[in-house]
């Protein structure tokens, strides 16, 4: 690793390894534990390593307090969110609306302790024919819809309760939209509640890979996705129907991505020595935060254009000046309905770019940096 906070990143990985395997961390020197805290915060992984970190006598009190306070506050939030979730589940049940917990709500059970898996919100798949009724329930509980996308309605209540009610697992109109047509059929009904459904394990895995890939291609993604993958595979690998999983992944062009991700997560968290290439890959998981950021997005766009012939930098600039239709539609939803507005949208985009000169300048600095790293 050759980037900022390299020492802290290495020790963060060591602490994750110890937390996952119940081992005692080794002593270290030269680690800035406040910087390590910032890193753990970016990756939303401090609750995972807090216990291990608190047990270390050489960690400064200031850093221990940062971890302790943040973890306590997370625990508080998790309990409050859980209580709200129970109320929502009861209301969905009373109103005979089928629902299925998603993402972290399923994956938390694979962690050594449930509280180790942080969640910024709760995702629930609901029967899409009952969208209005579900929204009515949320409003009756004082939630307000703050975002409505093609596949979900997102609700918020102060101070921090966020629930995303999905009608489908992916936006069917977006460029990357794997299909999960049999998710309800494959799921099994809860023993005590006929409206609560549990996603089939094969689908949990396919969905988590697709979800990870969605973030990865957009702006990169962080370590927690790899921890989720490692823990799920460690427990379920032999129970999964790999013919079905591989078939579905192949349909979506994700077979190779899944194999690489799984192998990398296994290498990383089973304590194997990383190769130079592994370290380069790891850097991308650490550098851009849990859900990626603007720089991660630049890296991904640059990677796409540099995989074809010709100067990557020129191709990148051309692509930024003349983006594909899917990107225009994403940034300007009106384009879908009124494609004849394209010239005006391009002019708007051009002037927006000029007025955001600082951002553009930072973007080209990032491209230069990526070029430099690629040469190295």
């Amino acid at each position: 690793m050759d980037y900022k906070a390299k020492t802290e990143s290495e020790y963060l990985l060591h602490l994750i390894f110890c937390a996952l395997h119940g081992e005692e961390p080794q002593k270290t020197q030269g680690v800035d534990f406040c910087a390590l805290f910032e890193l753990a915060k970016e990756q939303e992984i401090y609750s995972l390593i807090n216990d291990k970190l608190q047990s270390l006598s050489f960690v400064p009190l200031e850093a221990k307090n940062l971890f302790r306070n943040q973890t306590l506050s997370e625990l508080n939030r998790t309990i409050a969110l859980g209580a709200q979730r129970n109320i929502i589940f009861s209301k969905l049940t009373e109103n005979e609306i089928k629902f299925m917990p998603l993402k972290g709500l399923v994956l938390k059970d694979y962690y050594p302790k449930e509280s180790m898996r942080q969640m910024s919100d709760n995702d629930i798949l609901i029967d899409k024919t009952k969208r209005k009724e579900a929204a009515e329930i949320m409003r009756s509980l004082d939630y307000r819809a703050f975002d409505t996308t093609q596949n979900s309605d997102d609700f918020f209540k102060k101070p921090y309760y966020t629930f995303e009610l999905h009608r489908s697992l992916f936006d069917e109109e977006s460029a990357f939209s794997p299909r999960f047509d049999s998710v309800w059929e494959n799921a099994h009904q809860d023993e005590n509640n006929p409206f609560l459904h549990h996603m089939a394990k094969d689908d949990v895995y396919i969905y988590s890979i697709c979800h990870m890939y969605k973030h990865y291609i957009k702006a990169c993604c962080g370590l927690r996705f790899l921890v989720d993958n490692y823990l799920f595979i460690s427990k379920e690998e032999e129970n999964l129907n790999w013919d079905y999983i591989n078939g579905e992944l192949e349909k979506n062009g994700l077979l190779e991505y899944e194999q690489q991700t799984k192998a990398f997560a296994k290498k990383l968290f089973s304590g194997e020595i990383l190769s130079y290439e592994d370290e380069k890959l790891l850097k991308n998981y650490i550098k851009y935060g849990l859900f990626g950021n603007r720089e991660g997005g630049i890296l991904q766009k640059y990677s796409v254009v540099s995989s074809s012939k010709g100067s990557a930098k020129i191709k990148y600039i051309l692509k930024r000046l003349f983006p594909p239709k899917s990107e225009i539609a994403y940034n300007y939803p009106i384009y879908e309905k009124k494609p004849y507005l394209l010239p005006f949208l391009m002019i708007h985009r051009f002037f927006k770019g000029i007025f955001n000169f600082k951002k553009r300048s930072a973007e080209f600095s990032s491209v230069k940096e990526i070029q430099k790293e690629n040469r190295g």
Binding site: A80, G82, E114
Partner: protein, 87 residues
């Protein structure tokens, strides 16, 4: 008496907790980690209770003599009053 509405009960990692939310969270920010008996009393206090009704419910659930139960209930209720989370 009952717990104020802003007190939320929950369990995680096999442990029972009570936390303050809303306006209460400003002056009472820590988690209360309840043992099984305290968690049972907290659960009862989600609805209106008297000291006697709690003692009766405890005697039905646990095989302990009334004097011990009453002393335990008194102690928990005193703590809750001190925290000002009962109404």
């Amino acid at each position: 008496m009952k717990l104020k509405d802003e007190i939320v009960l929950g369990s995680i990692d096999g442990k029972d907790f009570a936390i303050a939310t809303g306006e209460l969270s400003g002056r009472f920010s820590s988690l209360i980690n309840n043992n099984k008996t305290a968690a049972f009393i907290f659960q009862l206090l989600k609805t209106e209770q008297s000291e006697d009704s709690i003692v009766r419910a405890m005697l039905e659930k646990y095989d302990v003599d009334e004097a011990t139960v009453r002393a335990d209930v008194k102690e928990v209720l005193e703590q809750l009053k001190r925290l000002d989370i009962l109404e």
